[in-house]
């Protein structure tokens, strides 16, 4: 099977390790991965801040770049939810504004083919044991768009439970937002920081060394709070845990 990796602009620019981990993991599972170089951003930051008309050309660009592939895999619940939930909505709005069906027709092909990584592993490849080894105590934070937008449910936990050497600690208040929320982190910095601090304290109470999630943007906020609060915990993307093996462990 050949899939396109949609790495997202945040991962590409700030978290290339996550991208390398996805490539390593999928290749190990026999999937041929392509990275279309023309990819940029799904437009979520624009859309969610109220710049729908700025987001539209980015969505069109996404469809142009990825439309031909059989499946599109992304290590981001929130960018995955953008394509799956909000692209159809963008199409509907354009139609309601009397701009015809063009946008909806352009975006439609990529919507059902876009999968968040854990969803792709469990639903499409049908695996929960990916042969990973990660000898650390880990707690999992289900990010909001993965949890409520895509409905990832138990998938990430099932994958983590099958990792050799991994001790999974339950995170109190797991389904509560970490407070990132894109531009919310800047526009409502006080509330965002308070939410982040509570999330980090909950994570700390588990005694885990690592907090993992399926979204680097939330991890950037949580991780930045962790170092500022000097917790000693580390944020790690779930792809990096799943890519880790006894021969080639991830730190």
């Amino acid at each position: 099977m050949r899939v396109a990796l949609f790495l997202t602009c945040v991962n590409d620019t700030l978290y290339p390790d996550t991208g390398r981990a996805v490539v390593k993991l999928l290749t190990r599972l026999g999937v041929e991965v392509d990275f279309p170089m023309a990819q940029t951003c799904c437009g979520q930051a624009h859309y969610n801040t109220g710049y729908r008309h700025e987001a539209e050309p980015l969505a069109r660009h996404f469809s142009d770049v990825f439309g031909e592939y059989e499946a599109i895999v992304t290590p981001s619940g929130s960018c995955g939810a953008m394509v799956r939930e909000l692209y159809p909505r963008m199409g509907e709005r354009a139609r309601a504004e009397g701009r015809g069906d063009t946008l909806a027709a352009t975006l439609a092909p990529v919507v059902p083919k876009t999968y968040e990584l854990t969803e792709f592993l469990v639903d499409v490849l049908g695996v929960t044991d990916v042969g990973a080894y990660y000898p650390h105590k880990v707690t999992y934070h289900p990010t909001c768009h993965g949890l409520r937008g895509l409905g990832l449910g138990e998938r990430p936990l099932r994958l983590l439970r099958a990792v050799k050497g991994l001790e999974l600690a339950e995170l109190p208040g797991a389904d509560e937002c970490c407070g990132f929320g894109g531009t919310f982190a800047l526009k409502n910095a006080d509330v965002s920081a308070a939410m982040g601090a509570d999330k980090v304290r909950n994570a700390e109470s588990t005694g885990a060394e690592v907090l993992c999630a399926a979204d680097n943007s939330c991890l950037m906020h949580i991780g930045g709070t962790m170092t500022r609060l000097r917790t000693g915990m580390r944020p790690v993307h779930i792809a990096e845990i799943l890519a880790s093996t006894e021969e080639e462990p991830t730190a």
């Binding site: 790495l7 602009c9 590409d12 620019t13 700030l14 978290y15 290339p16 390790d17 991208g19 290749t27 991965v33 990275f35 170089m37 023309a38 990819q39 940029t40 951003c41 437009g43 930051a45 624009h46 969610n48 801040t49 109220g50 710049y51 729908r52 700025e54 050309p57 980015l58 660009h61 909001c144 768009h145 409520r148 937008g149 389904d175 509560e176 937002c177 407070g179 990132f180 929320g181 894109g182 531009t183 919310f184 982190a185 800047l186 526009k187 409502n188 910095a189 006080d190 509330v191 965002s192 920081a193 939410m195 982040g196 601090a197 950037m220 906020h221 991780g223 930045g224 170092t227 500022r228």
Partner: protein, 492 residues
């Protein structure tokens, strides 16, 4: 809406104090988490919750779509039952109608059933200005009134107060309004409740005029419904000679059968109870039983304009259960007052900027008072997609566009203060539309990574005040991919 909130600062500024008030944070956290847990249990008991939620949504949407017809039906049914219907386009008109009705009775006091509609229009203040004293009889509403405070929650307006604070308010203020608090009042719930009971009983027995809202109005019979926990509402609805009910036009349900759905979803969503202790229904007037005169004031106050908005109109489905407040991480930390409206929390963040417009500083900031986590949508018993409406209203703030105000279509200009953000969004969009430009930017960031400051200037300061920045990697992914042929060349 209520004059008490005029001139509120933007949400982030208002939230700043609450976030740093440890007592308030503690009170809110305890209260919202307790009710959140109970609600989840009460909802889990119902096997067909998803179907009830969908039914509630459908009934409300149907009614809103044919609101013109149902409003006329309500007027006919209430009139036939001996009541009088008044139409109020806005808060001023509603206040004038109620004030005139009270004055016509010759009374200078009214007892009130807790009502969001009368708070929305600032009725108590309007009556006060005309020399009429309005007594709130709901326990939490009484605490807010005695404390010269503002409500901070739809269902539990005094949620921001703890027992000790309530004791102090009772001991200090009750004597100003009627029967004083007993000597040596402690902060035990039973003693506090008894003090309120004795204080209120005098008012129930003396009042000749009652003022209420309604949770529902049944169009087929012109019946109003109040759902409550304490029984104070029933006292106010049945003892006075004159009853005046102020009700938003979106509260209508076509038939009694429709009520069945909401009597299951409302108590479970709001108080986590299978059934609320008191459900009172009244239809016009009945000889020598209950009030001899009944007036229904149907309130628009921005609702018709909201109904004209295809995305935003779903906010009018709201049954004011406040479940969205209790699960909202932003409400939990910012407190209700920061929303600058009697409707706080997620529903307030979409309702106020629609009912009042987005012109004021606070109303333009409310659509951003959310991390879009989606917990509010998940919990809403009538499936209002609050995040969808928030984003829609953000668009209205930054891009402007056509809206309906007072029945007329007007084109809004983008709100002030977003010029820099708009320029940044356009620049980002341009870079993202040109992969080459994005790559150049990434490389520049990587090459200069050792020079990056630990704290950001400008708007970025909001980030770096409490959070460290991630280090910029030596090489963006796309360069690694190209250099190593997707890792196939063996290079790390």
């Amino acid at each position: 809406m209520s004059g008490t909130f005029v001139g509120m600062p933007a949400f982030p500024k208002a939230a700043h104090e609450a976030v740093n008030n440890q007592t308030l944070r503690g009170n809110l956290r305890h209260a919202t988490h307790t009710i959140r847990g109970k609600r989840a249990k009460a909802v889990a008991e119902v096997s067909d919750w998803a179907a009830l939620r969908e039914a509630g949504k459908q009934i409300k949407d149907h009614t809103l779509r044919h609101l013109d017809r149902y409003l006329v039906q309500v007027e006919e049914a209430v009139t036939a039952a001996g009541g009088t219907v008044h139409w109020a386009a806005d808060a001023d008109e509603a206040n004038r109608i109620v004030t005139d009705l009270v004055k016509a009775t010759g009374e200078t006091e009214v007892v009130k059933v807790k009502s969001m509609a009368t708070q929305e229009i600032g009725l108590n203040e309007a009556l006060e200005a005309e020399g009429i004293r309005a007594y709130e009889t709901d326990l939490a509403e009484l605490i807010v009134q005695l404390g010269k405070d503002r409500p901070s929650h739809i269902l539990v307006p005094a949620i921001h107060r703890n027992r000790g604070e309530i004791r102090d308010i009772f001991a200090r203020e009750m004597s100003e309004w009627g029967r004083p608090a007993p000597e040596g009042l402690t902060d035990t719930p039973a003693e506090l409740a008894e003090a309120a009971r004795l204080h209120l009983r005098e008012k129930f027995l003396r009042a000749k005029v009652g003022v209420s809202g309604a949770n529902f109005v049944i169009a087929e019979t012109g019946t109003l419904v109040v759902v409550e926990s304490e029984g104070n509402g029933r006292m106010c609805l049945t003892l006075p000679e004159t009853l005046i009910s102020v009700v938003g036009i979106e509260k209508i349900l076509p038939t009694w059968q429709d009520l069945e759905v909401f009597l299951q979803t409302l108590p479970r969503s709001s108080t986590a109870e299978r059934m609320n202790p008191y459900t009172s229904t009244w239809t016009g007037t009945t000889d020598e039983d209950g009030p001899r005169a009944f007036h229904l004031v149907l309130l628009d106050n921005g609702r018709t304009d909201t109904l004209a908005d295809e995305v935003g109109r779903q906010a009018l489905r709201c049954i004011r259960c406040s479940a969205c407040l209790n699960v909202c991480p932003v409400y939990e930390r910012a407190g209700g007052h920061a929303y600058g409206s009697v409707y706080p929390g997620p529903i307030g963040a979409i309702l106020s900027p629609q009912l009042r417009g987005t012109q004021s500083e606070i109303d333009a900031s409310l659509p951003y008072a959310s991390s879009l986590c989606g917990a509010c949508y998940e919990v809403c018993p009538v499936a209002i997609d609050i995040p969808e409406v928030l984003v829609h209203l953000r668009e209205r703030v930054v891009e402007g566009g056509q809206v309906t105000r007072e029945g007329n279509k007007v084109v809004l200009r983008p709100a002030k203060g977003h010029a820099a953000e708009r320029a940044a969004m356009r620049a980002a969009r341009w870079a993202f539309s040109h992969p080459g430009a994005l790559r150049t930017g990434q490389r520049l960031a990587s090459r200069t990574r050792r020079l990056h400051p630990r704290s950001l200037p400008g708007p970025g300061r909001a980030w770096s005040a409490t959070r460290d920045l991630p280090p910029v990697p030596a090489e963006p992914f796309r360069d690694w991919w190209q250099r190593t042929n997707g890792g196939k060349d063996g290079a790390k």
